[in-house]
Amino acid sequence: MSPKDVDKLFREALNEGQANPRPEAWARVAASLPKAEPKRRTLWWPYAAAASVAIAAVGTWWMQAPGPEAARSQQLAASNPLPAASSQQQVASNQQPAASNQQLVASNQQPAARNKQLVASSQQLVARNELPVASNQLLVTSYSKDFALFDVAFLPRMEADALEESVPLLKRRAVVAVQTPAPEVPRPRYLQLAANVQNVWTAVQEYREAEVPAEVTVEVHLPAPVLQRINQTKMLASNLNQSWSTLQSRRSR
């Protein structure tokens, strides 16, 4: 056998083959295996918390910062504490769209009791706006214990067109969207809210001019914080009226 034959013999016999390792060998290999990296769970809550804080911060800033509309309302209220019709319209345009979900349900009822006084919680406002002697009665009711009774005099401006549309259809419920103040009304906006209250009377007067039935039930669903703010505004408006009346009386003297 030549040397090359020896090479060929071994090459053909031993070049490829398999030999089963002992079972213990796997344990040694496994001991040095790279361990699987634990799955990194994406932590979503820090991002959610950060987003919530950011939204809350922006919302708070937006709610509390007196915008140009509020500033203009303050100017109007300061220069003319008893707003004229023109200024009322300006204030009406300043109403916030945030509370547009609030609904005013105005339903016409039996025109039985005419010539009754308008129920209004603020007598100052009633006197100032020169209510007709023979007026219809406005009853404010609340059908749900979740919502408090709300004085219609302190509603923001109602759309006159919608009211006129509801007049001929006495048995039909007319749903009128009402823009209410935001739950968090900062102090600088009290004056603006008071101006909105003035604007409500304009709507009420138009309501009478259209000769609507005597009894009109106005159901307003408002959250408690809004009512609280409105009550505060109601007191503020009353104080303003008292001050204005006092000032007028002193001037007249």
Partner: protein, 174 residues
């Protein structure tokens, strides 16, 4: 496509079951290669384990699964050579050869008998014979790998062949 291809992805993900399946498919080939370089089973097994460990570490860098067997064989040979270099192989002369007429009772065509015959050679002879006859290395490459001269590589191969020839002649006589 071999069956063990399916376990590569799992082994890359660190799944122990896939790693074991890959080991069980490839380790016998590696151990077979390593056994040609060592006379003791334990040495061959150590080299196999080091090779498989290296494979799992380097698995992400291996682009194609079909290239893995060749890569494993190359790595196994290198592991064996590293161990042999660490042991400082004694390049024996003709006087150090074992008796060619001893042991070996199987037939020539028995692959395991040839394996045993190969493993009876001294480390130096066996290493050069493996690299030249089975791995296809040139003497220059062998000299570079083992840190010896080409003349030493040639003489070691020549003596290994002579011993094999005599041993095979004894086989033929049986």
């Amino acid at each position: 496509m071999e069956a063990w291809y399916a376990h590569i992805q799992g082994a890359l993900q660190g799944r122990l079951d896939a790693q074991r399946a890959l080991y069980e498919a490839l380790a016998p080939r590696v151990l077979y290669t390593c056994r040609r370089y060592f006379s003791h089973e334990a040495d061959a097994e150590d080299a196999m384990i080091r090779t498989m460990t290296t494979m799992f570490q380097q698995l992400p860098t291996i682009r194609e699964a079909k290239a893995l067997p060749a890569w494993l064989r190359r790595t196994a040979v290198n592991e064996c050579l590293m161990e042999l270099r660490r042991r400082k192989v004694e390049w024996v002369g003709a006087d150090g050869l074992p008796d060619a007429g001893s042991s070996a009772t199987d037939s020539l065509h028995d692959r395991e008998a040839l394996m045993e015959l190969l493993r009876q050679l001294p480390d130096g002879y066996r290493t050069v014979f493996n690299l030249y006859a089975l791995e296809g290395y040139s003497h220059a490459e062998i000299a570079e790998q083992l840190g010896i001269s080409e003349a030493t590589s040639k003489s070691q191969l020549s003596r290994a062949r002579q011993w094999m020839q005599r041993r095979l002649a004894n086989f033929d006589l049986q």
